[in-house]
Symmetry: C2
Subunit: 270 residues, 2 copies
């Protein structure tokens, strides 16, 4: 099967926007350089102006010439011709942080999202997302689940995401918010899915919809539930703790890669 | 090899002392029932009176007739005959929470600790510990390491513990404080060691120094680094993120067991 021509850039939130901006630099580079047409999509956030301004400053510093902010705030917006026109021209877009449920409820099934997917499949187009924008990338996303109550049945809420990735569950702010437990729980609920935990200022570039390269200053945690031998998930009641026999984890840092369909760790070349 | 005759009870901190007190009930039961001689060792804490009072209330409610509090606060205390005499008579002891480094610096190499170990090896004697009291049980213990900076080289401080258990690293308040990362890092630093992460109000009873049974309301996480294929731990500098290819985790809840030397999960019987 031939993968999409575009690339995904999933970021764990809190990417540096003031100092070295390594992740944003890479986003621009993958999109074709400082002349590329970039759109920042602020749909997820309740503070679109502030967030838009932060990215504007960062992209100005990087020297981007053709960027703009799109605030699609309703499903009507998401079918509006003026936005579709700008999207058609774009080489790269970035979904900001906020609420992943806002992204899916506003964009799901709209012309806007349809066009993003078409471009991702058929063009050298970059779809970036940070925090909620990354969490929403897969077909199933985590909507809610505290770190403290993780691995307790019923503590985790999931919902359908934007669907750029299949059989992957993305979690963000991962080491900073201690989210190992909830991602293990998510992966155990369907061991076909790989859990992808992204630390802040850390991201993965996914090429061909399949090969993932780690960038940024922190860690990427992969939870592979395929070899789970046993779980009591279906036997216990809501509020009960969960048992899982054998789940595999990988910890990736800058330069390490991972092949999703082979579940294979590729070490950084020295 | 014949294991010790005694049992260990390692508790993740915050065990219920007011309502059903399941863990404390089990401690008393394993020690021989409400007639057993119990000593609460408050060495780890800076609030020995408050902590002693909490346990006194709990043990009164349970109906214990022969318990007392031992506050060994210096290395001299730990060689005093009056404490050794009481310890000789005891059927079970419990190290309270506080600082694990206080436990090791005050008790390490003293007559008190020597006697505890002799009794643990040769008698039906129960050594319980909660929070710091559990963290200090193994030969290597985690002394410091934040959840947020976990899996960053240099972020974790370890020290020699009291040594009731070999090749195990115990961590406590585990799911509540998001400590997966630091325990994975500890286990990766020596894959011969199993990481044992105990949630609050949760514990393990270890028989024969080898078979572990989960009790209490929460989870026990076992980190098994034996199958780690690669880590960059020796290649990177302090402050750099760590890569680890393949670490196995098990999540145990009440009734699940684990055999340490075989690294084998035993499911709860239905």
């Amino acid at each position: 099967m031939k993968g999409p021509k575009g690339k995904l850039l999933a970021i764990g939130g809190g990417e540096d926007k003031e100092r070295n901006m390594r992740i944003l630099h890479r986003f621009i580079e993958e999109s074709g350089g400082t002349g590329a047409y970039i759109e920042i999509i602020t749909t997820a956030t309740n503070l679109p102006e502030e967030v838009g301004e932060d990215y504007s400053k960062a992209l100005d510093t990087i020297g981007c010439k053709n960027y703009d902010i799109i605030h699609v705030d309703t499903r009507e917006d998401a079918n509006e011709e003026k936005f579709l026109k700008r999207l058609k021209k774009a080489n790269g877009i970035l979904f900001t942080g906020g609420s992943q449920l806002k992204l899916s409820t506003i964009l799901g099934g709209t012309e806007f999202l349809k066009l993003v997917k078409e471009k991702y499949i058929s063009e050298k187009f970059v779809v970036a997302g940070t925090s909620a924008g990354a969490a929403a990338m897969s077909d199933t996303m985590i909507v809610k689940g505290s770190s403290e109550d993780s691995l307790i049945k019923g503590s985790l809420q999931m919902a359908p995401g934007l669907g750029f990735l299949q059989e992957v569950i993305v979690d963000t702010h991962f080491t900073q918010r201690g989210r190992f437990g909830r991602l293990i729980q998510a992966a155990a609920s369907n061991p076909a899915c790989l859990g992808l935990g992204l630390a802040e200022d850390t991201g993965v570039i996914i090429s061909n919809g399949n090969t993932l390269e780690t960038i940024g200053s922190g860690l990427v945690v992969i939870v592979d539930g395929q070899n789970i031998k046993y779980t009591n998930l279906t036997d216990v009641y809501d509020g009960d703790p969960i048992s899982i026999e054998q789940v595999n984890l990988h910890i990736l840092s800058k330069g390490d890669a991972f092949v999703l369909d082979e579940r294979k760790f590729l070490r950084k070349e020295k």
